[in-house]
């Protein structure tokens, strides 16, 4: 089973507008895919529709050949940072522990083993000393690392992340990408909604160019070129090359 995710004819709407139209693609196991597109392209909605958090109007999605409900334990979702209640009284360790709630089950308390797993995940993200810190006292980058740790602790087979690198400092960005590559080496599949075109080539081996529908999808080196990018951004983007480097400008 080499196909981790298969999306067929996916369409999704918000109020009266169609935000995703006839999206179709297959993701290889063990790939690290970046989902890019202009604002309003439907990138977040795509992930939410795939995970049925935002019910699609139409479409079929399968994970490793199975429907969503059979594989929930093998999926990990890192939502955008903005969707959380920062006022909530909880510390970093607690947040990571929440990743295990699915496994702990109803009415049971987390055990020592679970705490150890959570601490390990924090350590992988370099956040051990912040374990008992209130989350609203952490910086943006630190918060993101905690959410990554929460994803790691789930030990999933496929990871969906919505703009994990948005608004984080350089050290955190490096740490996160290291972690994602680590996951890739372990054979996990990772899909990341990404906001920065400049870094796509460095970070992802596969790319999905999205603007309401799939503009292009495949190996970065094959499909991530000016033509496709300009098509995705609707002609509002021009790419110039300075030597070997791409310099992007928006109109």
């Amino acid at each position: 089973m080499n196909v981790a995710l298969k999306v067929e004819q996916l369409s999704a709407a918000y109020r009266k507008t169609l935000v995703l139209e006839d999206v179709q693609f297959e993701v290889e196991k063990g790939s690290l895919t970046g989902i890019v597109g202009p604002n309003g392209a439907g990138k977040s909605t795509l992930i939410k529709s795939i995970l049925n958090l935002h019910p699609p109007v139409i479409g079929k999605v399968s994970f490793f050949g199975e429907p969503l409900k059979n594989v929930k334990r093998r999926i990990s979702y890192v939502p955008q940072r903005g969707s959380v209640d920062w006022d909530f009284p909880t510390n970093a360790l607690d947040v990571v522990l929440m990743g295990l709630y699915g496994q702990i089950g109803w009415f049971r308390r987390p055990s020592r083993k679970h705490r150890m797993l959570a601490l390990e995940a924090l350590e992988k993200m370099g956040m051990t000393e912040y374990a008992d810190r209130q989350i609203n006292q952490l910086s943006g980058g630190q918060q993101q690392r905690v959410f990554l740790a929460r994803a790691l602790v789930q030990n999933a087979d496929i990871y969906f992340m919505d703009e994990p690198l948005a608004g984080v400092d350089a050290t955190t960005e490096k740490k996160i990408m290291e972690t994602l590559n680590e996951l890739k080496k372990q054979g996990k599949t990772v899909l990341v909604v990404h906001h920065d075109l400049q870094t796509v080539e460095d970070y992802f081996d596969h790319v999905l160019l999205l603007n309401r529908t799939v503009i292009a999808h495949g190996k970065t080196e094959e499909i991530f070129h000016e033509q496709n990018i300009e098509r995705a951004y609707g002609g509002k983007l021009h790419i110039f090359r300075r030597g070997e480097e791409n310099v992007l400008t928006l109109q």
């Binding site: 999926i75 209640d85 009284p89 929440m98 709630y101 109803w106 009415f107 987390p110």
Partner: protein, 320 residues
């Protein structure tokens, strides 16, 4: 004639109170306070503090309808009527908010007043048809803990215990549901299910409470202890415990104080006691209490001063 009746009523109640009846009343308001304090914590993080006020008012038509159908004041039936009506209200608020541009506060205000208005319409009709029996209805609506009979207290206590049990048992589910519902959904927790459960618990608490402290004051029980507990801890579990504690204590002391006077209603005194707890927490609370923050800041200011004496006072102003 009216005044005399009221006077004797008051005296009669007084003599009742200093019997075991007072203990029963205190017990019921205590347990109500605990349940309200617990649910209040959930409402606080759902940012739905005033929903309990809206739903408490929305319960009125249900009470009257239930009464009209049964013809007598049967506690369990009236509670069921209140709950049904409140749930319908909750449903409408949801429906209006999600399917139109009307915002949640507007929807709450509408349901609150329209349902209550409908309730008053029905109550006026009930007062005419039922005669003397409806005096029981009034206490249900405005709250008179002192006039509850033992049987009623037991019903209330059982329901309150159920509410407390569910909050405690599903503790971590509540935690994640309140903190990060999208992620919770991702790992398989049904957000819809939690929403329904939360609404049921909320309505149950409201409904059993309105006959102790009244429709209008029920909201207070669900807001004030929860907010007070915020000033003592940054841990959700401890918040729940503290909030319940504040709620329970307010119930006990409020009832005691109200027993001192002739025909004094219990509700307002319970609220007053909890407001005192709140003010105390606001100023002296370990976590964010005003005086504590002030002292801490003074300490920092001293440190800053000794470190570099040139630092001007202006630099510490506006620091949160």
């Amino acid at each position: 004639m009216e005044a005399n009746c009221i006077f004797f009523e008051g005296v009669r109640k007084m003599s009742l109170l200093f019997s075991s009846n007072l203990q029963w009343v205190m017990f019921s308001t205590m347990i109500l306070g605990i349940a309200a304090g617990a649910i209040g914590c959930l409402s606080y993080f759902r940012r739905q503090n005033l929903l309990s006020d809206a739903l408490a008012h929305a319960a009125l038509p249900g009470v009257v309808v239930a009464f009209l159908l049964i013809g007598e004041k049967n506690m369990l039936v009236l509670i069921a009527g209140a709950a049904g009506s409140a749930l319908v209200g909750a449903f409408f608020i949801q429906w209006i908010t999600t399917s139109s541009r009307i915002k949640e506060d507007t929807a709450m205000g509408m349901i609150l007043s329209i349902f209550y208005g409908a309730g008053i319409m029905l109550l006026t009709v009930a007062n005419r048809t039922a005669g003397g029996n409806q005096s029981g209805l009034d206490t249900f609506i405005f709250g008179q803990a002192a006039s509850m009979v033992r049987h009623d207290v037991i019903t209330m206590a059982v329901l309150a215990l159920v509410v407390i049990a569910i909050v405690t048992l599903a503790y971590k589910e509540w935690k994640i549901f309140l903190f990060d519902p999208e992620f919770a959904n991702g790992i398989g927790l049904s957000i819809k299910g939690m929403n329904i459960l939360y609404t049921l618990l909320l309505v149950t608490t409201i409904v059993i409470g309105i006959q102790a402290v009244g429709v209008i004051l029920m909201a207070a029980m669900m807001i004030i202890p929860a907010v007070s507990s915020r000033y003592w801890t940054q841990n959700f579990g401890r918040m729940l415990i503290l909030s319940s504690l504040f709620g329970g204590l307010s119930g006990v002391f409020g009832t005691l104080i109200s027993a001192l006077g002739k025909g004094w209603p219990t509700g307002p005194f319970v609220i007053l006691v909890s407001a005192c707890f709140f003010l105390f927490s606001l100023f002296f609370g370990k976590e964010k209490g005003l005086l504590v923050v002030y002292w801490k800041r003074k300490g920092q200011w001293k440190k800053l001063r000794t470190a570099s004496p040139d630092v001007t006072p202006l630099m510490t102003k506006g620091v949160k």
